[in-house]
Subunit: 406 residues, 2 copies
């Protein structure tokens, strides 16, 4: 039985491990003294001092000054030098590429935004380069690397975009292309996967959380799964591709070739299409009043009509909740009770949507596991994929969290 | 952000790690010299010699004699002392408890089998003790511990059986009860989970495999999921409870309270019930010929009628395959392309069943992920849960694989 090679604990590996452990401790605690690092990590004081000296020499951490005494001498506090590095995050979304310069705490300093206007293939690839060029030109700190969240099937370990239908990309070795061009570390993963990593890294209320599922509901639909502190990529890819799991067999044809995929039922595109149809059918509806030209209706109008109590829209959103509830039940079947958070513009449907999801989920999986499953919204907004792309770098380049690639 | 405490690399931890690495290498390679262990693990030769001396003193490994020369001196080969320890494996199945004494390679030396005849509660608990008493009396080697595969919701980290409907057990701290009574290490997990661990540990054709899903189809139905070499327990429990994920909403009522759960469609109980109904409806059917008293029909009779081409039975089994295919698609949605193996008496339906599963799965998840997903049967037979229970001990007590509890 040949398995993945394991290797011994060498002094070098131990030093890397201990350095990452100290940096992670400082990152998580915000402000902490050397003595408290030693207590928290159970490393020897001299080891902590050595590692801290190295990290300060690299500029990754800094001394903040003396904190209040807790009995003895006032402790000299250390903190992450948040602005000591910049990360480039890219979101290769369906209709527009966006990119940002991001600091080590997920603050965005500079953005670029490139509408694709239907471009794909090599032209779209040039747009990726344009975005990175612009961000590098705007950067004023050492760059840690480039993180990319991309739609479709992404082989994170090899950095190859295996299949991105809208971009007309197949087997594009985007990581190698970017690494060669910019001589920076590059990490690529599926956009819904990195959204989960973003919430896990920068989100609210995740103290002590090791397991988290984010269902990203946009033009496309997919899940990102954090299991025991690790992002699941799939082996080699495809973890969380729930947008193409069939919920309503024999339903609407999906571009993937099957019928009734979750995406055909709950994507913003699907919601908008049905709302337009509702508006055309009923000129007296609120939906029609808010948007007299149904063909030009924006997603915000659907939210507005929903919040104003349009019964047709509320009925539609209840159905969306039930479809998402079926998908949630499937995830509970795989992982047991869990925390499932919804991301994307559908958050405008608020508690009403969550209640519909919960109700359907409870009818579709083991009752006590449903009871122990939390359904909510992510705390991050529309930058979640950009932030997730940068979080890939924090996890893999700095080892701040545990989500090793490959 | 407070997360699970991490701890430093101490010399003691390194020694434990290196010992486990050497033992694992010997276990996996079968026969190997000290020099090859050093090459394979990249440990220093003196370290390997020290660790080997310790393992020989414990009796876990032995010198086999000299192997053929590969150029220089003939190498002195080491191997696992397969019979140096015995493991107790228990399968607390629905209608009967079974137990076995098992060696370090999964060979069964002695069995006990206790039909429950409807007993539950404390009486059933006494049956567990009777099984262990009998196995301890029959053992003739030092015991490594007791591994238990149990139906229902099992909290593996705390060793508590949270919910086992048929045994009428709720929150039974079985691990502590057994540990106190026998002063042996005890590990407990869900029966379908340990079935996957058994196939991963003792199965054929798993060289290089790190991800594996076993769907166990018996009286109950559930999945065991090995992800990157680790068994998923759920946090804290319930991973793989696909038997109660709804496939046919509004279908038959399940004891869990919902309708149309996978278990109501594909369990051996459900198959047998429908076969009995078919036999009653059609006295000319093969099914009726093979079993003139439908009420007393055994599952084997269904297999026999299937293999003789009974059209009603074949139609029923095709439906079973489609329901399992829907469940498989849900798992592909969670984990991406994977290897899914079916365990249990339904293996008598052979390739016909696998084809039906594959066909339905392909219509229910992302096509390229379906194409890359393997559907097959496990290589282990009806002892799979017993073997999995003992594998819990190999993984956790000897660290032969990577599936830490808790």
């Amino acid at each position: 039985m040949k398995r993945r090679p394991t290797s011994k604990v060498t002094p070098e590996r131990a030093r890397v491990y201990n350095t990452r452990l100290v940096l992670k401790t400082i990152y998580e605690r915000g402000e902490i003294s050397r003595a408290d690092i030693a207590r928290s990590t159970r490393l020897a004081r001299p080891t902590v001092s050595d590692v801290v000296a190295d990290l300060m020499a690299e500029g990754l951490i800094e001394e903040l000054g003396y904190g209040p005494s807790t009995g003895g001498k006032r402790p000299l506090l250390l903190a992450l030098a948040t602005g000591s590095r910049q990360l480039i995050g890219l979101n290769l979304a369906r209709e527009r590429f966006s990119g940002a310069l991001i600091d080590l705490r997920g603050e965005i300093a500079h953005r670029v935004d490139l509408p694709l206007d239907g471009r794909n293939g090599n032209v779209a690839l040039d747009f990726v380069y344009s975005a990175v060029d612009a961000l590098i030109a705007a950067s004023n700190r050492p760059l840690l690397g480039i993180g990319v969240g991309a739609p479709g099937l992404v082989d994170a370990a090899s950095g190859v975009m295996r299949q991105a239908v809208n971009l007309n990309w197949r087997d594009v070795p985007l990581r190698d292309l970017l690494q060669e061009r910019y001589s920076l570390p590059v990490l690529i993963a599926n956009d819904c996967q990195v959204a989960a990593l973003a919430e896990y890294t920068f989100g609210d209320n995740i103290a002590g959380v090791r397991d988290l599922i984010v269902i990203n509901v946009g033009w496309g639909v997919g899940a990102g799964i954090i299991h025991d502190g690790h992002l699941l990529y799939g082996n080699p890819l495809g973890a969380g591709e729930i947008g193409h799991v069939v919920i309503d067999k024999g339903g609407e044809r999906c571009p993937c070739g099957n019928t009734g995929c979750l995406e055909t039922l709950v994507s913003t595109h699907a919601i908008l299409r049905r709302a337009r149809s509702l508006a055309r059918q009923d000129p007296d509806s609120l939906l029609h009043q808010f948007s007299s030209h149904p063909e030009a209706m924006a997603f915000d109008t659907v939210c507005q009509a929903f919040n104003s109590g349009d019964p047709g829209v509320r009925c539609e959103i209840e159905e969306v909740g039930h479809s998402l509830g079926a998908a949630a039940a499937n995830l509970v079947g795989a992982f047991g009770s869990c925390r499932i958070l919804i991301a994307g513009p559908v958050s405008c449907f608020g508690q009403f949507l969550l209640d519909a999801i919960r109700e359907e989920m409870a009818e579709r999986c083991f009752p006590s596991l449903a009871t122990e499953t939390e359904i909510g919204f992510v705390s991050l907004g529309s930058d979640i994929v950009l932030l997730g792309a940068s979080a890939l770098l924090l996890h893999n380049e700095l080892g701040l969290f545990a989500a090793p690639l490959g």
